[in-house]
């Protein structure tokens, strides 16, 4: 429409902001960047050679954007306006994207349902009072509702892929190090990776090619140029897809049926299906819940009420300042993970927990290396179920919610790329399957997902949004 001049860049930006306001009850945004976005859209002219030119985008509220409030959905960062902009945001802005808003998320990305945000729950656009998934729940809701065509997310254990599955979207977690983490507020530094959430694999490819590239400001950024996944998207080779033996019997009958339909679609397109084994995969959730809290307890020590963000009003001395600012500033899930993290890192427990988990992590990564000798990509469900009602999981037993990420966590531990792709609905609600590949196999993953989407129409379905007016 931009190319045919049916709409101008500023009309498109204003329409996106007006939708954001119309669907305010979704609660998917922490802040709308109205003035700056409109000003930017008036100054930009449409570039027909650039697929992201003048495209409205929403960024997860853990990417620093200069002078725009960035909170990680935590009280402890209330009012924080970063003096710099994250590399990934800059890369997308350089490609022509216009930042419309910052999206709601689980506090510091700790959660799988977007129920730990200081700013309240995000609704799933497909079903009110049900979770959009997490932690990039606001990002998924903002795309699924049609407010923006593209959003950034981050994925530490499934936080892009699981909300994508629950909201009928395509979400890509690239290889660790593909996208700069500079300016992205850290949760677990050896697991965190930014990525795109969009309707289709093609849109994810366009976004990925803009987001990637080496960044000298991030010491874990890979020394590689930008990806060129769009160029090779239409190349379809019939690959061998591995089905994980250990995941048999983990799904309800309805979810299993939806997954089997995806397998059949791939078979009909000429893909070979082969059972593979990942013997240590069952340890991925406990391994993650040692490593992620350990890294978070270290990363979150910087929030102390001294240099930025929230400081408790009720303080007498320096110790009060630290203790009360952190006690009042962090929510329960964050506190729980900091406590676990400091415990597993403490002298006397370090070898039994932290070192042990890092050893099991290597076994899990080696399992993937062996599996990729038998198959090109691995095909799994993305999450064990569809969306669920607010407060229905994890209030009695926190590990119940942790198991939401059963299928997604291992890719983060190994640092390998994976995508979630919409598949058959279950009881009228979206579900997704996941394609996992070896390091740097984003092109093959996106080609395969694109091939599936050329031969299915699940990704084209959108929610009615009537209940959010």
């Amino acid at each position: 429409m931009l190319a045919n001049k049916e709409i101008t860049p500023s009309e498109l930006t204003e329409e996106s902001i007006s939708l954001a306001k119309r669907y305010a009850s979704l609660n998917c945004f922490n802040v709308i960047n109205e003035e700056a976005a409109i000003a930017q859209s008036r100054n930009l002219s449409f570039d027909s050679n650039n697929l992201l030119s003048c495209i409205p985008i929403a960024h997860k509220d853990l990417f620093c954007i200069k002078d725009l409030e960035t909170t990680c959905s935590s009280k402890i960062l209330e009012g924080y306006k970063p003096p710099y902009t994250a590399t990934v945001v800059k890369n997308l802005e350089n490609a022509g994207c216009i930042t419309i808003a910052k999206t709601n998320m689980d506090e510091f990305a700790m959660g799988s349902s977007n129920e730990t945000s200081y700013f309240g729950n995000v609704h799933n656009p497909w079903l009110k009072n049900h979770v959009p998934g997490g932690s990039s729940g606001g990002a998924a809701a903002s795309v699924a509702s049609g407010i923006v065509p593209l959003a950034t997310g981050t994925d530490t254990g499934g936080s892009i892929r699981q909300p994508a599955a629950l909201c009928n979207l395509t979400g890509l977690k690239p290889t660790y190090g593909r996208i700069s983490r500079w300016g992205m507020i850290a949760f677990a530094s050896s697991l965190d990776q930014a990525g795109p959430i969009a309707h289709t694999a093609k849109d994810c490819a366009i976004a990925l090619d803009a987001m990637t590239g080496h960044d000298s400001k991030d010491s874990t950024s890979l020394h590689l140029g930008k990806t060129t996944t769009l160029e090779t998207l239409e190349k379809h080779t019939s690959l061998t897809l591995g089905i994980v033996k250990e995941f048999n019997g983990q799904l309800s009958a309805e979810m299993e049926l939806a997954f089997q339909k995806s397998i059949m679609t791939y078979q009909s397109l000429g893909y070979k299906i082969k059972e593979i084994t990942l013997p240590n995969i069952k340890y991925s959730v406990p391994t993650y819940y040692v490593i992620a809290p350990a890294e978070c307890s270290s990363n979150l020590s910087r929030f102390d009420g001294v240099r930025f963000g929230f400081r408790s009003k009720n303080i007498q001395n320096l110790e009060d300042l630290y203790v009360k600012s952190r006690s009042e500033g962090f929510g329960n899930e964050v506190k729980r993970r900091i406590l676990i993290g400091t415990y597993v890192l403490s002298a006397g427990y370090y070898d039994a927990y932290y070192k042990k988990a890092q050893q099991v992590r290597r076994l899990i990564a080696e399992d993937f290396n062996s599996a990729f000798k038998e198959c090109d990509l691995i095909l799994t469900p993305t999450s064990p179920g569809t969306t669920f009602a607010f407060d229905s999981k994890g209030s009695k037993d926190p590990t119940e919610l942790y198991l939401e990420d059963l299928f997604t966590i291992a890719a983060n531990l190994a640092g390998i790329p994976a995508i979630s792709v919409p598949q058959a609905f279950v009881n009228n609600l979206p579900s997704g399957h996941q394609l996992i590949g070896p390091h740097l196999s984003e092109s093959a993953i996106l080609q395969t997902a694109h091939h599936f989407q050329l031969n299915s129409d699940w990704h084209l379905k959108s929610p009615s949004m009537e209940s959010f007016l």
């Binding site: 959730v285 329960n332 042990k356 099991v360 926190p398």
Partner: protein, 77 residues
């Protein structure tokens, strides 16, 4: 943390730690820990002076500051 929250967190931690204890059944006797998915050595930067000092910008974000310092309650009597 009040008494109720402390009790809730204590019971949550027990559940989480018993899940984590499953790792003890894995034989890792000859396995090197994998601390990062990228096992590259530290990057050496060129010895070039950069002028990215955003001191004033950062101080504007402080809950309390004075001249060039972050202000906190008095530590020494």
């Amino acid at each position: 943390m009040d008494q109720n929250s402390a009790q809730k967190i204590e019971s949550d931690l027990d559940v989480i730690l018993s899940m984590i204890d499953e790792l003890q059944e894995v034989d890792t006797s000859k396995i090197e820990p994998m601390f990062s998915p990228i096992e590259q050595t530290a990057i050496v930067y060129d010895d070039v002076i950069s002028s990215d000092n955003l001191k004033e910008d950062f101080l504007t974000q402080a809950p309390n500051s004075d001249n060039n310092f972050f202000k906190v309650p008095k530590v020494v009597e």
